[in-house]
Amino acid sequence: MKRRDFFKTTLAASTALSIAPMLRGNTPAPAPAAVIGGGNDPHAVTLAVIAAMGGMKKFVSKGDVVMLKPNIGWNRRVEQAACTNPEVLRALAESALNAGAKKVIVMDRPCHKPEDTYLRSGIGPMARELGLELRHTDDNRLVLHDFKGKYLEKWPVYRDFLEVDKFINVPILKHHGSAELTIAMKNLYGILGGRRGKLHRNMGGNIADLANGFTSHLVVVDAWRILLRNGPVGGRLSDVAVKKTVIASTNILEADVLAADLFGRVPAEIPFISAGKELGMGRIDPAAIPVKRLTA
């Protein structure tokens, strides 16, 4: 979709939505742009959040091949809050399968040794338990993808991420030295091959281009445990805060805005978020995003 088209569609849609209730006289509950759920069990909260988003059937059709893209970047335990919580992923995999998904693939390109990170994060054992397809990235399967961005143009991407029917982006909310935060947009570094370190120059612009040039059909942010300092790798438990929160949105920028707000940062001050706004990817004032809050 071109930017111009996007604006046109957005304008048309919002006009239609604002006029429609006036015509009909009574107001139906609008589907929330985002849901923020809290509770005591990450699995239950995730299920509740998905239900509030309209149910997984809204996102996954029968026979779909679904990719769950967690952050499995580091050889760290779940308590250290460097990788996505496996229980959040478990809930998403179960609901995708229940919605009729043909196959659920779990995959990331970690920074540490893949075999180690898959195991220690607990994501590998969870995936094997549920019979999900756990894949390692395979350099035989790299293709050049055009992100058509200002900073990020063509870059090698693992074909697995491009071929699936539905891509569910499941990051963990963390501090990050150079990007300031890492959430869903930054999580897409994991689909890239090549020397990703090169993208640290103009990082905000690169992250925004990356997220703008690749579709995440659903974004579910694991903010159960968040890493407050010394991210993205962390390691010290005193740097971890337990927030017991899961955020979902179909808009990747707005998911990151809400997560940054939860982290205690002003979203507009995060370079990749302001770069995303410039690309017209969504609203960056958390108060302007209609959010449904729930407790499960």
């Binding site: 920074c111 075999e115 035989n140 030295g177 150079s178 993205p232």
Partner: protein
């Protein structure tokens, strides 16, 4: 014995060889050090080098004691490298009229000279037994060359299965996915000495097609050690009544002695090929009390060769110590975590490559000449090729001779193998004036040994800009090298781990 009985014995021997080769591979894959402790050569040299008996090496007295009974059964029935040699010799002999020749008689004694040189060199402080010891040699070759080459070969053979379209892709895909999931490593491993180590293995295995079990008969110092003991062994083979002196017993013999003519206990690998070949059922086992001088075969070595070996060993063993290291005050390499003082390290390490085998990230690499010519194939850390995983202590638990001392995970995390140093002429945050911080992001130390601070500097466009500039906190840095490994510069990393402030004592004395 009858040929039928001989066939049974030979069958048992082949089964034993296959089983021990399988056991060797299993122990290698599971990072166990146990096979090494049954190697009396390594045990002896370790004792001579360190002056201490490592208790586990006492296990090697078991095969040594059994050799006193059965002769060189280890070489014929157990040694995994011997099994490969036997296999290649067999390949060359099988079904061919023109048999592979045995090594010349006089070559059989070379291995004793090799052993003498190694022993004397070790006494002079240069322990190179691992270069030639069959277990070290095979472990190293497997870790550094065979296993990565196998992975690459599978990838080359099956990578059509990585495609999604086309007939080839459809046919190969299941095999490819199976191999990717269960056999191949997620990333291709690579080693600095893969070609050299691999070619040496190809060479010594190939020599079997020229002369039967060439390595075992002429070079192997472990074979020599067993040979010295086997001379005194209880059991021997002989011919008995009915022998027609046809000498067919020598036709598949590993050294072509055969029990009829020129039988040598020190070279007989008790493989029982002779008994199978004898058309007259005339090969028999003979038992004489150990140490009886009556039937002992001559060693055929001679005083001059012994003295020559000693002299060569004395000189060769002293040479590394009088190289540059006698004067040099700095060193440009780092060793894996748990490494002991450099002098002790060189004397303990048997260059087996087990640490390289277990290292998940490939950072442990066999040295070429950077640690001295006698340091060839000792493990060094190469952060340009891998990084030391913070949550890992596998290498420290895999070293058979404790050249890397075992470290608990918490000890390992704090074990300082070196310090990161920034090359300010290359680092983007100094030289070019823009943000990068990939090293800072990857630094695994909880407090971050690599940090950044905001500074103003003139950038590559001549503008005064604010940059998040990297700096290292040397006291926190453990030298894992992930910073160097991920530095995005293409020419050479702008942050390097050097031996500065390494925790172990570095001394050649």
């Amino acid at each position: 014995m009858t040929r039928a009985n001989a066939r049974v014995l030979r069958f048992c021997r082949v089964v034993s060889q296959i089983l021990f080769l399988a056991l060797f591979i299993i122990l290698l894959v599971s990072a166990s050090r146990m096979f090494f402790y049954f190697d009396p050569l390594l045990g002896l040299l370790n004792f001579l080098a360190t002056g201490e008996v490592m208790t586990l090496f006492l296990l090697s007295l078991i095969p040594l004691g059994l050799t006193l009974v059965f002769g060189r059964f280890f070489c014929g029935w157990v040694c995994p490298l011997g099994t490969l040699h036997q296999f290649f010799t067999w390949l060359g002999i099988r079904g061919k009229k023109k048999k592979i020749e045995p090594v010349p008689r006089k070559a059989l004694r070379v291995k004793y000279v090799v052993l003498i040189v190694l022993v004397v060199m070790t006494l002079m402080g240069t322990h190179l037994g691992g270069w030639l010891d069959p277990l070290s040699l095979l472990t190293r070759s497997t870790a550094v060359s065979l296993a990565p080459a196998g992975n690459h070969g599978l990838n080359q053979a099956l990578k059509a299965g990585a495609e999604d379209e086309g007939v080839a892709a459809k046919v190969v895909k299941p095999a490819y996915n199976l191999a990717r999931r269960h056999i191949m490593t997620a990333e291709q491993r690579g080693f600095a000495q893969s070609v050299m180590v691999g070619l040496i293995l190809i060479l010594i295995l190939g020599l079997n097609l020229w002369r039967r079990r060439f390595y075992c008969n002429t070079i192997c110092p472990l074979g020599a050690l067993y040979g010295l003991v086997a001379r005194f062994s209880f059991m021997r083979l002989k011919t008995r009544e009915g022998c027609k002196a046809c000498n067919l017993c020598a036709s598949h013999c590993t050294y072509a002695g055969g029990p009829f003519d020129d039988y040598r206990k020190a070279d007989c690998l008790v493989c029982f090929n002779c008994a199978v070949d004898c058309p007259h059922d005339s090969v028999a086992l003979d038992f004489t009390p150990p140490f009886s001088t009556a039937k002992r075969t001559p060693l055929d070595l001679g005083r001059r060769r012994v003295l020559g070996g000693v002299a060569a060993g004395l000189l060769a063993g002293a040479l590394p110590a009088v190289g540059p290291r006698a004067r040099q005050k700095t060193h440009g390499f780092i060793r894996p975590p748990g490494a002991v003082k450099e002098k002790d390290f060189l004397e303990k390490c048997v260059r087996c490559g087990q640490c390289m085998q277990v290292c998940p990230t490939n950072v442990i690499q066999p040295a070429a000449l950077e640690t001295g010519i006698d340091g060839l194939w000792t493990p060094v850390m190469r952060p340009d090729l891998g990084y030391c995983e913070y949550e890992c202590n596998r290498c420290t638990l895999a070293c058979p001779t404790l050249a890397l001392e075992p470290l608990e995970m918490d000890e390992k995390k704090e074990f300082k193998i070196g310090t990161a140093v920034i090359d300010r002429n290359r680092c983007y945050t100094y030289a070019d004036g823009y943000n990068c911080a990939v090293c800072e992001e990857h630094c695994p130390v909880p407090d971050k040994a690599i940090r950044f601070r905001e500074v103003e500097l003139w950038n590559f466009e001549g503008r005064l800009v604010k940059v998040k500039q990297i700096y290292v906190v040397p006291d926190l840095c453990v030298g894992c090298g992930i910073c160097q490994n991920v530095c995005p510069r293409s020419d050479a990393p702008a942050i390097l781990v050097t031996a500065e402030e390494e925790q172990r004592e570095f001394s050649y004395y």
